[in-house]
Symmetry: C2
Subunit: 258 residues, 2 copies
């Protein structure tokens, strides 16, 4: 273990204040950092992240020596001490503060890929679930309109379950990127064409809209193929719409099935 | 409007206590009642439910006279008064207490239908989302193992968005029902057969498991066809699993596509 990094058994007041502040987007942007908690999540994220700080129990630290090289500061703490800093109801053996990746979106690199674009998805839980879907279906880029929920929201980070390590999320001016990308743009609409009767390409951008309002007018105009996941029996009176994450899953599964 | 039913402009203390108690399963079972809030949800549920009590604004009551016939007690209240009783952060114009339907499960009636069975799904949000999926895909029965989340949990009721009106939920001893039903039983497993290569029938029971542990041993033994939603590229290292509601959506979509 790198002794020089392991600090006192207390988390300083200033540090607790810093960690707690990262619950708010404003401070995440200001500090360019986010919080991830739990041995599984932190273990998955560490190899892909720039870790700024870790507070963990002696046991976790002993088992994860190999992951600590790049970490700037480490506190070895009791579970009780961890509870003081945690953003979770049930804190686990490790809390990490990571740097928010700041990679610039390279539009040319999207070509030949399947990409998900979120146009104003608001619920952090949905966003986390969609990242897991992207990961499952080998989709490595998710574009988010500037009005979408923040993927570094603790609720979203925790629900991503490591997908955040493998899927790159870019916040962008979505209409601008869709225009520049010159790739087929797909979107789901209640008046779209049955997805099972529509030609799907192996690369393209799949746009999913806001939970209540769907895809915005501005983005809708840039959609080349309007898709629809048919209900059953088709046209019957059912729920008005599927949850956006469920719909994303069905659409991605269909793209990959082909 | 049925003047005799419209009571004072206050919600009595006893009634507020009754409503608040319905946030807990124990009291929902004791009172055999659950709470639904919001004009859209209440409007969708009322025609299919036995409403015990409604507190609503003057405006809502004026617009929904036709729905009030069966309601035992109605209070016309201000929004502020409604806030005192509401279980939501942002109360809307109407709060209803409905009787929990107590229909006995008729196993014979399941034949020739597609049915979803939940084996220990724990998250009320997932349960609500799955009910919307069932509704979307014309699945009218959802069986829940006794250990599953309670569909009458306010969080679940609110996320169902009216699906609760069209989809019947039965809590039961799941292994017993699966044995008695004599229908093909499908389940998803990480070591199952690619769903796109498996024969699917137009009727049968689709079992979905617990968020963390999947399908229980006892139920797994009763599954005839073990399915798997392939990740992409197949066999690659991705997220360990899809969210249970997303997986339910993909599986139901595939059953209905065929």
């Amino acid at each position: 273990m790198q002794q020089k990094h392991i600090n006192s058994r207390m988390i300083s007041k200033a540090r607790i204040k810093w960690i707690k502040s990262l619950e708010m987007r404003k401070y995440r942007l200001q500090h360019n950092a986010f919080v991830a908690e739990g041995p599984k999540l932190v273990g998955e994220l560490l190899p892909y992240s720039i870790p700024l700080y870790i507070a963990a129990t002696k046991e976790w630290l002993a088992e994860n020596k190999h992951l600590l090289k790049a970490v700037k500061e480490v506190d070895e703490v009791s579970r009780e001490e961890l509870e003081r800093a945690s953003l979770l109801r049930n804190p686990q053996s490790v809390l990490a503060v990571m740097q928010i990746p700041n990679e610039k979106l390279d539009i040319a690199s999207l070509q030949d890929q399947l990409v998900i674009a979120l146009d104003g998805v608001q619920d952090p839980g949905n966003l986390g679930t969609i990242l897991r879907i992207a990961d499952w279906f080998g989709i490595h880029k998710v574009l988010c309109s500037d009005g979408s929920a923040d993927v570094y929201n603790p609720k979203c980070v925790q629900s991503c379950m490591g997908a955040l390590a493998r899927v790159k999320v870019h916040y962008c001016n979505l209409p601008e990127v869709l225009r520049e990308a010159k790739m087929p743009v797909f979107g789901t609409f209640l008046d779209g064409t049955n997805i099972y009767e529509e030609e799907l390409s192996s690369s393209g951008i799949i746009v999913m809209g806001n939970e209540g309002n769907g895809i915005s007018q501005q983005v809708a105009e840039l959609v080349d193929r309007r898709l629809y996941v048919p209900n059953y029996p088709q046209g019957s009176l059912t729920t008005e719409s599927l949850n956006v994450a469920v719909c994303t899953g069905i659409v991605c599964a269909e793209f990959r099935r082909r």
